[in-house]
Amino acid sequence: MARLDAFGDRLFRRLVTAAGWFVLLALAAAALSMYWGGREAFGQFGFGFLWSSDWDPVQEEYGALVPIYGTVVSTAIAMTIAVPVSFGIALFLTEVSPAWLRQPLGAAIELLAGIPSIIYGMWGLFVLAPFLAEHVYPRLDAWLGGWPLLGPLFSGPPLGIGMLTAGLVLAIMVIPFISSVMRDVFMTVPVRLKESAYALGSTTTEVAWNIILPYTRSAVVGGIFLGMGRALGETMAVTFVLGNAHQINASLLMPGNSIAASIANEFAEATTPMYQSALLALGFVLFIVTFVVLAAARLMLMRLNRREGR
């Protein structure tokens, strides 16, 4: 019996180990196959592929700068909006909300996370974009367009589609992910800690900033990464509202392009080998961009934790 147990245990161990390695293997395989597919483009354009803004399928000249810029900027806009809002949602749900509201609100967030991205895209295109073009962007242009530093970001014709719209739609898409992670980790804060703080006369704001956030920081950052990863790679919703123009504009109201959107748009009719290779190379670049962004965030977190130790 004991031998059978030991055997079962060993088997279990191997299975779990295999599952763990599987993640690394899948990651390496995906990265490698994209690099392999893109090798022609990398060979032809070298590092220039990363900072050339050319994208000319007729002349067969490709560069990734415009899509990289669009991916990073639209994600940055999305995170700027999504992080504070998610923090508010999670805090409301765990600290402020009356008990009867928690359940339906939690369910609503999970429902929001389950909506397919094509629906967000169509909603963005048919509902949000016309509304923004009609009511919001003209005012943004009028109010902020003349400002010295902020001005160029918010000037231009109110098309309704562009970087800012894409950022807004992305924010709505990632809020459920970030806020549900935040809510779950906020609930793990020991009641003892919070009550002690309240007993010492802390306000809810002070408890949030000085007790809950420090206690859950690394998990909160993990939740933000999760949302950010999704925003970086989001394809369908962005394609609908980004405008898909291969150009870099200072204005956030103008159209741009993203890596995932370019691939989704152009792959089916990429007729020449170099064109296909350039698109796969773009996929590899997205991989690198995501990796760099996540690594940078990890490093930041590590430095924060070290300072805490002192």
């Binding site: 050319d54 994208w55 000319d56 399928p57 007729v58 002349q59 295109l125 048919f126 974009a129 016309p130 073009a133 014709p157 098309l159 309704g160 589609i161 394609t239 609908f240 405008g243 898909n244 123009a245 291969h246 159209p255 392009n257 959107a261 989704a264 748009n265 152009e266 089916a268 009719e269 990429a270 007729t271």
Partner: protein, 338 residues
């Protein structure tokens, strides 16, 4: 007893299987998405009439060309014709299947469908970003008496690679040397200006939403979505409206007999009534098929389509081929298949 039952069942199954392949063939095809709605409708009708099944995968022209070259399908389809050398190299034949029209749709307050008149040069200059306002003298000169507003033009193009784009920029290249030199033609190009919508529906949505927008879409989309579109001046210098009749006029006046392997792009076609941006879908088949029976069945299918598929195509906004062209295709088949 059991064994003999098994044996007789197996024989029965084998017989049924053989009978199945003899009666209902499965014909496989892959390629352009432009023709997909028509293809689905024809397949359903053909299946009802003959019992044969068509399995058409709309994976894009590029994929269709690759698959027929690899001989993994019975026919491929492409929105841009292949050059005769390329066909000869890969042992392929090529012939048209069905046509459609591309129209410049616009959103200018106060101007209704077919009121606006454009010509190729002006259209190219708009897409080059050189004409930026609707009241530009070049547009006004073509539209005497029409009150053109002082409104910015927003150019809308396709963001995805597409046969519609290929035919549109092929037209611009034919009418504007500057376009040909600076941009050129292809299923996607480097657009000098504008925003990109995904698919006909994306471009249509952008045109409807953005005041002052102009975009190129298939005629059937413009009709079903009631987006106004402009008249164009054709190669003979006459202004024509886009319609089934004017697209068929373009196909009828095109000099198909002069072209080898039907390598002809139906833009800027001669003829007084011809719509200048007509698009043709092409079918590609192998001269040395792996599956000879599938190849023969595919030709039977297209023969049936030319004879019986016109009405279904027209209902979906396509334009069927003129009869003379169908006769030329039959003759072409006779040369290459026996």
């Amino acid at each position: 007893m059991l064994k003999s039952l098994q044996r007789s069942l197996a024989t029965l199954a084998l017989a049924a299987g053989l009978a199945g392949t003899a009666q209902a063939a499965e014909i496989t095809g892959a390629g352009a998405s432009f023709v997909f709605p028509a293809m689905s409708r024809w397949s359903a009708d053909y299946n009802a009439a003959t019992g044969h099944r068509i399995n058409y995968q709309s994976i894009g022209s590029g994929g269709g060309i690759a698959q027929i070259k690899a001989n993994t399908v019975d026919f491929g389809s492409s929105d841009a014709p292949l050059k005769p050398q390329e066909l000869a190299q890969s042992q392929l034949v090529q012939f048209p299947s069905v046509m459609g029209g591309i129209v410049p749709a616009f959103n200018v307050p106060g101007i209704a469908a077919n009121q606006l008149r454009l010509d190729g040069k002006v259209l190219a200059d708009i897409y080059l970003g050189r004409i930026g306002k609707w009241n530009d003298p070049a547009i006004a000169a073509l539209n005497p008496g029409l009150a053109l507003p002082d409104l910015r033009i927003t150019v809308v193009h396709r963001s995805d690679g597409s046969g519609t784009t290929f035919n549109f920029v092929n037209y611009l290249s034919k009418v504007s040397p500057e376009w040909k030199e600076k941009v050129g033609e292809g299923t996607s190009v480097r657009w000098p200006t504008g925003v990109g919508g995904k698919g006909n529906e994306g471009v249509t949505a952008y045109v409807r939403q953005i005041r002052g927008a102009i975009g190129y879409i298939e005629l059937s989309y413009a009709l079903t979505n009631q987006v106004p579109y402009a008249q164009l001046r054709n190669a003979e210098g006459r202004f024509v409206q886009a319609s089934s009749a004017s697209i068929q006029a373009a196909a009828a006046s095109a000099r198909w007999s002069d072209s080898q392997d039907f390598h002809l792009v139906l833009t800027n076609a001669p003829g007084a009534d011809s719509w200048p941006i007509a698009a043709t879908n092409f079918i590609l088949m192998s001269k040395k098929p792996k599956n000879a029976e599938g190849n023969r069945q595919a030709r039977e299918f297209f023969r049936w389509v030319y004879a019986n598929g016109d009405q279904a195509a027209a209902e979906l906004g396509y334009v069927p081929l003129p009869d003379e062209l169908v006769q030329q295709i039959e003759a072409y088949w006779g040369q290459h298949f026996n």
